[in-house]
Symmetry: C3
């Protein structure tokens, strides 16, 4: 059976742990990386730069053949369905299909149509984005040393965020205390009781060891879900003055809307982990690809 | 002289035979594939997913460097001509240029502008799509054992189909009996007398050992060339009930318009060869690239 | 410190000389090329075919991993800034970022945001396009033998041309006599006094050893900057009859507007160097990549 990577719960604690350990080993580069004689399809039904290039760089660095399917300029314009595309890529012989899709559940759905390829979720609608959670946790572990008992606040449009869903699943596995902060109409319902509600960005910064700031989609601003831009900025933006008398480090999945959810001056601040997250993203994706496509290599890399 | 692959007649019986033998040898993988130190340009003036990714995977698996030229986001938007593009790719030093174009005859035209590159036709207008015919015939040979004397019906929009033109040229070389079935306004004129006219999909399924279903372009449906959609479906769709008391296997170049030319329930049916065609497509294209770019390797692969 | 390639002056005489020497050595292929274990990002904020494919082929031939970032279908559509994109590519670990941008100065600007990657300018607005100048000079050296004291005329829309700016900077370093020819509203101000003003294409052809014809952007024709099309063609096009009683070779960066700035019949004429420029473009870019990413290999290649 192939080992899909569809979401954090589906992957499980042990596998996530191993991927993080592998990512650290790869980063240390105390050994040469294996060359995987594998073919990887990037099936991007939704535009993306960062995630696509990060996966592509990870796969190419491991010696994989990487081909990109993107929805524009493709058979999708001829009405080809997602199921058809996945079946076709599987029949072509790709060993892994990395899927990005605007529909929640698309990765699970795709997994029903493959015989041999492993499906890797690179973000599906408002559902999951597991490699983002893995890179976020790797970054927190790098800087905080451990996550058990640490306070991590997630701030922004939580309702529509796949990063939020993957992050809380993985952070909970690691024993973090989780706090949330969002405008009322962007706050998910039915959150567990052990999650701390934080009224504004200033409280989140004061409460947390780490704040994960999420991107505010511009289209939300005119949707009525968000108060006025000025009001959003006043209550929910992480601002330069919040650094005083707080210790929290700042993460953001990128790209940042500068001066919307995060002050431009914070992007390259020493308390910002944004560049480290990007670097860790490549490491985590290399680790996931090795773990998925060449499980025999895992022991050897970890033992070095 | 470089050996272009422009169409089935131009390639000839012996070369087509050899490519099919090579494709089978590659599929058996009883030997390691050669690594071709060659550069291949995919010059796609018309969008395509399947054919592009199939050629790209074939070329990359053989170790070629593959670069994609696509009409959008390119100099075509600055008014660059097809001839200019081909001349430029040739001057850059590409060893093969795989061309897809909306104009019938584009591959032959392109061949006039190269000095060293081999031109490979990946579909030109309503003219030819030779690798599709090769993969169709490989699939028929796999399942039927031989083609000589077998009945192959082609159903759908024959008039505008490059697949139809390449298929009948290659099937004739292999001695198949050919049947055709299409609405009157989508039936080519001047077909040879030895081609069987079949009035509807049910007759085609009853007559044939294999039915090749072609895609109905959605734009034809509102063009007046096709009767009403309901009428097309009643007479020319391959439907689930046609499986009863018939033996024909079903091929389709994909992507399928589900429930238009073919019932959705047939796409993954055991009588459908669609996934096998996709797999064979990669094999045939690897074989063509080896035969074109590394003719010295052919004997060695075939002798194994 | 990384060695960016932002413009001809910034690169300097010695480095340009070395790149040209390397390009010639690579072209002679009297030795195997090194395999660079490096990752290269093509950050194309502006569409391009020729330059992108030329760099991509150069990098792939050297064994680099090459990934393309293009503005369409990317985070740029989400409002990501140029600085963000460059910071992200740098943090991912790319060794070189080849940038093409519509804004003059974009390459210099990008260089402010990298820690480890080398920035290579593939054309920024109306500012510079250094590899085009290098391939132009390599072509002139091939055909004329030397450039010192030779007359090179540049004809067309000089005002908006990055090729013009890079060409005159490099030609001056090589001691060429430079002539210019353009409609009054497309002539740059403040040209040095030692530059020859040539009133029309016929005079340019009569005066020069080589004429570099620049592309007339179609949008200029309706902008009022250019006289009527008929008038432009009469005075500033290089036409077939100009070959009589002149000796100048003809260069053009491509793609040509046939019968606008250059007669269609001249594109493949023996006096046209257009195809040679394309071939040299790949050589120059391979040389630049080796010089930038693997300086240790330079001596070895040159000594062969």
């Amino acid at each position: 059976m192939t080992s899909h990577a569809l979401g954090i719960e589906q992957m499980g604690w042990q596998r996530c742990q191993q991927i993080l350990a592998l990512a650290r080993a790869i980063r240390n580069r105390c050994h040469r990386l294996p060359t995987l004689d594998r073919s990887v399809a990037l099936a991007f039904f939704e535009p993306s730069t960062r995630t696509r290039m990060s996966f592509e760089l990870a796969a190419c660095t491991l010696g994989c053949r990487v081909m990109t399917f993107s929805a524009s300029g493709s058979s999708i314009e001829k009405g080809e369905s997602t199921a058809d595309t996945i079946r076709t890529l599987d029949a072509m012989g790709f060993d892994a299909i990395i899927i990005r899709h605007s529909a929640s559940g698309a990765a699970d759905y795709a997994a029903r149509f493959v015989h041999t390829a492993a499906i890797i979720n690179a973000g599906d609608g408002c559902h999951e984005h597991p490699t983002q959670a893995l890179l976020d946790v790797l970054t927190l572990l790098d800087v905080l040393g451990s996550i058990e008992g640490r306070r991590v606040a997630i701030v922004g449009d939580l309702l529509h965020s796949r990063v939020f869903r993957s992050d809380i699943a993985l952070l909970r596995m690691f024993g973090a205390q989780i706090g949330v902060c969002a405008p009322p109409l962007l706050m998910p319902h039915l959150l567990r009781d052990d999650i701390e509600r934080l009224p504004d960005a200033a409280s989140a910064m004061a409460w947390a060891d780490a704040v994960i700031v999420l991107r505010l989609q511009r289209e939300r601003m005119s949707s009525g879900l968000v108060p006025s831009f000025a009001d959003y900025r006043r209550r929910y933006s992480i601002r330069y003055e919040h650094l005083d008398a707080t210790r929290a480090i700042i993460c953001h999945p990128g790209p940042v809307n500068a001066d919307v959810e995060l002050d431009a001056a914070l992007i390259e601040h020493e308390r910002s982990m944004i560049q480290r997250q990007v670097t860790n993203g490549v490491m985590v994706r290399m680790a996931l690809l090795i773990e998925t496509l060449a499980p025999d290599c895992v022991e050897q890399i970890l033992s070095l």
